[in-house]
Symmetry: C2
Subunit: 401 residues, 2 copies
């Protein structure tokens, strides 16, 4: 299809691919930010035993009947249990066991008196308060019950999950494999940083830009190369790598210039084009193809356009493959704090700064350039086709970066 | 000091330490999320040459005088320049050079006509529009001027910076070294996941929890260990590692129980205690010491308390050492969507979910436990001392996690 709307493009792409069915088993401690590949149910109770929630004395509630500062009850202290310890004793009438926070309740006891409500006695302890059964008493499984669902397949693993799973004695977890991404930057004008720059050429920014953005998402490309403008070279490289990757992102070569070769080269190798040209600026000539069922997203070579369409088009692909909801673009409503006076003949996305519901432009004194002006921006304002201007106070749709 | 307020505690900690003065030189492509260790000024213009912003013909504006569809001017096409190319020709009166987007302007030309305003001629080209000097003409340095400041020392390096620096041919960057963090989990009750659990013990969660949280910040601890409740053991270990780390975080052993040993053990080795006990819940018994000028933050052993005080106390330390503003806790104002009916005798922090200015509690059907109830939460509500209840619609201060 030619000239699709952004929403159509996203639909076409996400319908054309499946979520990954590959999994890795990794150390739990390294699993932060990964997607769980399994439902995990609690293999045990946590705490695994009844325990004391505070420092005090474990005893039988009946023994405190009527106790107060004026009517002191005295019990015999027969043992002491620290957290991690375990008493062999079973409490009998008239007895107490000194117990610390988190320690396992001794047999026979059915409540714990706070040490502040005693005289802190070592052999004998004075009790100043009447207690009921199960006062200050934590039951086994109070935090987590055996068979509780701890994490669902497809859920993003956070540090909290890792703490919880660890508390169950778990050390390994099955996670969805990360997509294997190839990043191919085309363009005869692109020079390699670190090498000397030939007349008429510019140093790469797209490779570094998109590699780093993927890196921010925890998705380092496994292949990233600057290759020339020859359609033959690009398509040959795609044929070589397609079986070993899950997604190919290219930049450059998608316009209609004589050297914009991707829209010819891709069909030649048998890739099926799902769309070319999206009704938005910048980055109109974005293209999406499938080759051997692998998605190929081809973005414009202009860095700001590449960046914008990466956010708008690549993120939904990544979200679909990984099932990581954070990778999908996130839309919010913002209120304009600045004016934007250019009429938008076509739908366009402009860079801005979103904070606390408000949207403003960022002034970059030191640069007028496309990419340099992105510094400090954290969103794109979605300006509809035909908008004459944006006024202060206007509600706008904003894509968070 | 005993019983400090949170704000005092933060002041004491951040005043007691300096930002790191260690630097690493790393590959630019790996620098995302690091803090720049240098001011970097543009070593060159970008683009490095005057160039064409579109596909068309480079020519002399004078040659188009009076041109229109009705009054066609015809020029001789003497060369073609693709992006990345360079023409040896100097344009003379009556001549034009076919030029593609991004290509270097040929000598003699002072504007570019859009190809749509011509007949796309190859040897001769028909011109349908009058142009002025420098129409469709990009000057060298339009994006970035030589000597422009590209990134400041202390600035967080984003993917946009990396794209910009790469476009300058830069391949390496000096960054602030990451702090070397040690994480020591104390407590005789703490069993090691993967090993069998002795009676009365529970599996670790703090080590995994805080390691993973630091991992989320890109700061993997270099030392992370579960050690017993012996004050001697803990202080011996601190003495061994203190010279090789920048920050030690401990959990457990800071209460007033008989085995809560850190507040005794640390002064014994000569550590200077700056505070013990902070006026907040959970995690009151947090402690902060300096030993050989290295900060030691000691948190409560209860996982939810450890997590809360990690956010409130460890993040300001990390922010100060690394100078990464994102590591400081971030406060926002939110509107309560739920009620909270427990009176707060002391200041307390309760877990909740913040979105779009609104704060609500998260129901976790499958768990009532302290840590399990953090799943799905992304903030802590700061409830002041003496608050009787929070009502729907109340404005609250919220710490974003």
């Amino acid at each position: 299809m030619l000239n699709v709307e952004l929403e159509e493009a996203i639909e076409l792409m996400t319908q054309s691919i499946e979520e990954t069915t590959d999994f890795d088993e990794i150390e739990l401690i390294d699993a932060c930010g990964r997607i769980s590949g399994e439902d995990i149910y609690a293999p045990m109770n946590n705490p695994p035993f009844d325990r004391s929630p505070l420092d005090g004395y474990a005893l039988i509630a009946d023994d405190t009947k009527g106790a107060s500062k004026e009517n002191i009850k005295t019990l015999t202290v027969v043992d002491v249990i620290y957290a991690g310890g375990d008493s062999k004793r079973t409490i009998k009438k008239g007895e107490a066991i000194r117990i610390m926070t988190g320690a396992k309740m001794p047999k026979g006891a059915n409540c714990v008196i706070r040490q502040e409500q005693t005289n802190y006695g070592e052999d004998k302890v004075e009790i100043y308060k009447e207690l009921s059964e199960y006062d200050n008493y934590c039951f086994a499984g109070e935090d987590i019950k055996e068979e509780d669902l701890l994490i669902k397949k497809g859920e993003l693993i956070t540090y909290v999950h890792i703490g919880i799973l660890s508390s169950m004695g778990i050390t390994k977890i099955k996670v969805k494999s990360k997509p294997r991404i190839a990043l191919l930057v085309t363009g005869d004008e692109v020079g390699i940083p670190g090498e000397s720059l030939k007349e008429g050429k510019i140093y790469d920014s797209n490779l570094h830009l998109l590699y780093s953005r993927l890196n921010e998402f925890g998705l380092k490309p496994i292949i990233y190369e600057i290759i020339g403008d020859s359609g033959e070279k690009v398509s040959k490289r795609i044929c070589e790598i397609v079986d070993n990757v899950d997604l190919i992102i290219t930049t450059g070569g998608v316009s209609v210039g004589q050297k914009d070769i991707l829209h010819d080269a891709l069909p030649l190798i048998g890739a099926k084009r799902l769309f070319w040209k999206v009704n938005l600026k910048p980055g109109t000539p974005a293209m999406y193809s499938l080759y051997k069922n692998k998605p190929i997203l081809s973005l414009s070579g202009n860095p700001f356009a590449a960046l914008t369409t990466f956010e708008l088009l690549a993120r939904p692909i990544l979200g679909k493959i990984t099932q990581n909801k954070n990778l999908y673009t996130k839309k919010v409503i913002g209120i304009m704090e600045d004016e934007f006076n250019k009429p938008s003949v076509r739908r366009r996305f402009i860079r801005a700064y979103f904070n606390d519901g408000k949207v403003r432009f960022v002034e970059n004194k030191h640069s007028s350039g496309m990419l340099a002006s992105m510094v400090g921006c954290n969103c794109l304002i979605d300006v509809s086709e035909g908008t004459l201007k944006l006024n202060k106070g206007d509600k706008v749709e904003v894509i968070l970066l």
